[in-house]
Amino acid sequence: MLRVEFDDWAILFDPDSAKAIGINPTGVAVWKLIDGRRGIEDIVSGIKEMFSDVSISAEKEISDFIEEAHKNGFVGYSLDSET
């Protein structure tokens, strides 16, 4: 569950585990692009469309964020059916 605190900072909260992590505005944007259909490349593209001056390390940072969310149980991975 995403809870926007103030401005665009937010908390990702899992009511089952009571885990909560704070995320910055970019993290909020990434979270909103996670829809079960987009892969990481699609999410990076989406971020590049939303923000100007996206750094070259964006893909790694987004991957790290998603991995952190996965480690805390907020997201899961599914395999592409074609692979």
């Binding site: 995403l2 809870r3 926007v4 103030f6 908390i11 909260f13 009511p15 009571a18």
Partner: protein
């Protein structure tokens, strides 16, 4: 903050006990009635849409509600966690097992006032100790996290050492919180019997400080003698050292509730907290909680309380502790002075010392 993180819900206006110091009952500003299930469920949907994370279920006695499971289901479906504040006397295996199965319960808090029936029952009623302890053990049996609140009053303050040993050693509770009976609700008509005298306060402070060392991290307080003992020591040390003002000192900053949480009475009225039950901000399912949270003028006035300097008050004139004092609970301040925006005389260090008290 765009919405409250937590909401305190007085889901029951009824209780099977009549504790002599209960803040809840005997408030002339409150209509003691219960809302039907569907009204709470509708409200929970609104809380869910606002991403409220936690609710506390209180009253009155929440376990008196026959629809308690339905209410908890509504909380779960709206992605929230919950805790329950209870006298513990009505908790059976059936409800404890259900609560455990939800995996959404942070804790059930049970009130314990003594290490024996004589002491506990003196303010809570005959037979309540045995039932409350049975309730705790039932919760433990089902691995439901148990919290305990010990409210200190004139009749149990000399039992606090025994209470600590009973709870922490014998029952194996991980920690308990303490406060003291405040001049609210039923306590107003029983004040002579239950309120701590200065001598009581002295004993409580001394014993609780010692117990805090004996059981590190296992006795907590955000008000009452243990909190006062610790904070007043800091204030006195700061005064003696001529330290600069504490970051929150010198103004009416004590109340942080309006920035994080809000409460709802059993009749559906939205209030800042249970200590200010007369301050009606709106009604659930009629008024938007978001709108109340962001724009209600009374709530915003309460938030602005922290800009009021203590040196404006006649009560505080000439006090050396002003730079370190926060003015304490506005609810107690109101009940004693008829003014929310006034420091609470009950938690005044200068007054305590003037009446013969000593900082431990």
């Amino acid at each position: 903050m765009r919405s409250p993180r937590a909401v305190h819900l007085e889901i029951s206006s009824k209780c099977n006990l009549r504790c002599h110091y209960c803040y809840y009952f005997d408030n002339p500003a409150v209509e003691y009635m219960n809302l039907p299930t569907d009204q709470w469920l509708q409200f929970f949907a609104e809380l869910g849409s606002m991403a409220v994370m936690n609710v506390s279920l209180a009253g009155g006695e929440p376990f008196l509600r026959p629809d308690l499971k339905d209410l908890i289901e509504g909380i779960i479906q709206n992605k929230m966690r919950f805790c329950i504040l209870s006298n513990g006397t009505l908790i059976d295996d059936h409800i404890a097992e259900y609560i455990a199965r939800t995996h959404r319960c942070d804790y059930v808090q049970v009130s314990i006032d003594g290490a024996s029936p004589d002491v506990h029952d003196s303010c809570r009623g005959k037979g309540s100790f045995v039932k409350a302890v049975r309730g705790i053990k039932t919760l433990q049996r089902h691995d439901v996290p148990v919290a305990v609140r010990v409210t200190l009053h004139h009749n149990n303050v000399r039992d606090i050492v025994n209470v600590a040993s009973f709870l922490l050693d014998e029952l194996g509770i991980s920690s308990f919180g303490t406060n003291s009976a405040g001049y609210l609700g039923a306590c107003r008509k029983n004040a002579g019997e239950v309120l701590l005298t200065n001598e009581d306060r002295q004993i409580a402070m001394h014993d609780l400080l010692n117990l805090s060392q004996k059981y590190p991290g296992r006795i907590t307080a955000s008000a009452g003698p243990l909190y006062e003992a610790k904070y007043w020591r800091e204030m006195e040390a700061a005064r003696l050292n001529h330290d600069p003002a504490f970051s929150k000192g010198g103004h009416l900053t004590a109340c942080g509730c309006p920035f994080n949480e809000i409460s709802v009475r059993a009749d559906g009225m939205i209030i800042p907290c249970s200590m200010l039950a007369h301050v009606v901000l709106g009604r659930i399912n009629r008024d938007s909680l978001q709108e109340v949270w962001l724009n209600n003028p009374e709530l915003n006035r309460l938030r602005m309380r922290r800009s009021i300097p203590l040196n404006e008050f006649e009560f505080c004139r000439g006090c050396d502790y002003i730079p370190y004092c926060t003015g304490n609970c506005p609810g107690i301040a109101f009940t004693l002075t008829d003014d929310i925006n006034h420091p609470s005389p009950d938690a005044c260090l200068r007054k305590f010392l003037a009446e013969g008290g000593n900082i431990p």
